[in-house]
């Protein structure tokens, strides 16, 4: 009897294996069918071009002539030693160090404020969010118009308060801040909405329990709000940093592809554009894109490591 059962079980197992094979294989074939075209797309339009950029960064090439000259790391040396490029890297870091903290803090304050009100929350949420959906190009020109030295409305308002008209975009010191104000203005709404969603998920009971334990407002904020919100804050910070490192549209349209007076507003990406498509130094431009890639990776990894530690 036991032997018969054993044979039956064994027979069933063998049968199951055969069935599993044909169903599994059918599913596998379907999977390959689903992914074939898109994978081909990614290889052709993402992976191969990236390798080609690496390859090109070791060359000297002006786009028109058929020869490309292998020059090893010379482009990279130029990228870090050329004073103009050093200024550009410095500008971009300045963009990041000023815009990102301000962006995150202001968005957080805004999100906290939105969380406090019930009546009118959706209305103000809407108002705050509108800058994000509008064309960055259009807004850049509005900024250029508002901050004009003669006739711009900002100087007009300053004049009303008795302050002398500022050169703004004509000044090597001030122009970068004009661009920064645009970057910050257009992103705080978006970030505030994300942070608000995170805030709304924190259970009230946490706060109530803390109150029973006698926690102060600041302690509640620090140990409940910030800690619970941490993943969202990290996300907002990392995304904001990556976007700011890649700033192009605002610089190009507010200050020009050249990069403003004394190149004071030039960012890495406007410089890549300038080097490749105005100066036709394809190899050098490719090297700068590789450096940008490495910078983004390093900063992202560092941020995620440092900021995620806060949850412990």
């Amino acid at each position: 009897m036991a032997q018969a059962n054993a044979v039956l079980v064994k027979g069933a197992k063998v049968q199951k294996k055969k069935n599993r094979n044909s169903i599994e294989r059918k599913k596998e074939r379907t999977a390959y069918l689903f992914i074939a075209l898109p994978v081909l797309y990614f290889v052709s339009f993402r992976i191969l071009p990236t390798f080609f950029s690496f390859f090109l960064s070791f060359m000297e090439w002006d786009l028109l002539s058929p020869e490309r000259e292998f020059i090893g790391f010379e482009n990279y040396i130029t990228a870090v030693s050329d004073p103009t490029l050093q200024k550009v890297f410095g500008n971009t870091f300045e963009y990041v160090f000023v815009c990102v903290p301000l962006m995150v803090v202001i968005s957080l304050v805004l999100a906290l404020m939105l969380n406090q009100i019930v009546k009118g929350r959706s209305f103000f949420r809407l108002i705050v969010f509108i800058p994000y959906v509008t064309s960055a190009v259009a807004i850049s020109y509005v900024w250029k118009w508002m901050f004009m030295k003669n006739g711009g409305v900002i100087n007009g308002i300053l004049k009303f308060f008795g302050i002398a008209p500022q050169p703004f975009l004509n000044s090597a010191d001030q122009s970068i801040f004009v661009v920064m104000s645009n970057i910050i203005w257009s992103s705080i709404g978006f970030n505030a909405i994300i942070l608000l969603a995170g805030l709304m998920q924190i259970p009230r009971t946490y706060y109530e329990a803390a109150e029973i334990d006698g926690a102060s407002g600041w302690e509640k904020f620090r140990y409940i709000t910030i800690r619970q919100l941490n993943p969202t804050l990290v996300y907002v910070t990392v995304m904001g940093t990556i976007r700011t490192l890649q700033v192009f549209t605002q610089v190009y349209n507010i200050a020009g592809a050249e990069g403003g007076p004394l190149k004071s507003t030039a960012s890495i990406v406007t410089e890549i554009y300038h080097t490749a498509f105005r100066q036709y130094k394809m190899g050098l431009a490719s090297a700068i894109t590789v450096i940008l890639f490495i910078v983004i990776m390093i900063i992202t990894l560092v941020q995620m490591k440092v900021l995620n530690k806060e949850t412990d």
Binding site: K27, E28, T30, A31, Y32, F34, I35, P38, V39, F42, F45, R46, I47, L48, P49, T50, F52, S53, M113, F124, R125, L126, I127, V128, F129, I130, P131, V133, T134, S135, V137, A138, I139, Y141, V142, W143, W145, M146, G151, V153, I157, W185, F190, I193, I194, A197, Y235, I242, Q246, Y252, N253, I268, Y273, A276, F277, M282, T289, F293, I296, M297
Partner: protein, 265 residues
């Protein structure tokens, strides 16, 4: 509490003022724009006449709409398909291929624009709609997002469909897809907006005026009419107002989509 609302009013003004100033300027005459009053001394529609009838703006608007629309459609077809495949199927090489796709998320667009430009030149894609379409037909982020959402679809439901005689594709379209519509609409909205606003690649790849997207067209228009701010602001308004209207109509979905990706991400 009233202090809070007061603060909101101030913030609201700061957020909205650039738009108001933009629109106000578009209704003023060339000499009037330098006055600081909000309302035009002499309300004029001449600027709009010139921009809408006498320039390429309508054409540029159409181009942007076409490009953003087709790209979004493509993303909505392919990204969920891949997300589903990586989530619900087992196949050889799955981990490797998925890792490869995910790693493309790390590649900044800037690294690809020079090779793309060379592709466009050497394959004769200059100034075609295709040159604006090919970069955005699928996104690694979208695939990742859809995969996350498909994990919430129970396998039993899919098996039930198979038992009922649906093909694999039928299971996908009739059972799985309808269950992830919030993610689909979020992905669609982001893709459309992102594509509509794209500037770097159009600036590089297009030099025929009639193929310009509206972002590039506005920049070109502003360069050509450099000191006529009333015209530039009108162009900016034409570029901005339709999107704001669409946003106001779909606002609930859009804001939900943003929160969805932010909290899950």
């Amino acid at each position: 509490m009233t202090l809070l609302y007061l603060a909101f009013v101030v913030i609201g003004v700061v957020m909205v003022f650039p738009f108001i100033w933009m629109i106000a300027t578009s209704f003023k005459t060339g000499t009037d724009i330098y006055s600081l009053s909000l309302l035009p001394k002499k309300f004029t529609l001449d600027n709009y006449r010139e921009v809408l009838a006498g320039s390429d703006f309508p054409r540029w608007f159409l181009n942007s709409f076409l490009v953003a629309g087709i790209t979004t459609l493509s993303v909505l077809v392919f990204d969920p398909l891949l997300g589903y495949a990586f989530c619900k199927y087992r196949f050889r090489g799955k981990e490797a291929i998925f890792t490869m796709l995910l790693s493309t998320m790390m590649i900044p667009t800037e690294m690809m624009i020079i090779p793309w430009y060379m592709m466009v030149n050497q394959l004769g894609w200059n100034n075609t709609y295709w040159s604006m379409l090919f970069p955005g037909l699928s996104s690694a982020f979208g695939i990742f997002l859809m995969r996350q959402f498909f994990t919430g679809v129970p396998d039993e439901l899919l098996d039930a469909g198979r038992i009922d005689g649906l093909s694999e594709f039928g299971v996908y379209t009739r059972i799985a897809l309808p269950l992830v519509t919030p993610a689909l609409s979020a992905l669609g909205i982001f893709t459309f907006l992102g594509n509509w606003n794209s500037f770097l690649w159009p600036v590089i790849a297009l030099d025929s005026k009639e193929k310009y997207t509206i972002t590039l067209g506005l920049a070109q228009f502003s360069a050509e009419n450099a000191s006529q701010w009333e015209l530039i602001m009108t162009g900016a308004s034409v570029a901005t107002i339709p999107i704001i209207i669409i946003f106001l109509i779909f606002q609930k979905k859009i804001i939900e989509g943003v929160q969805l990706t932010g909290v899950k991400g």
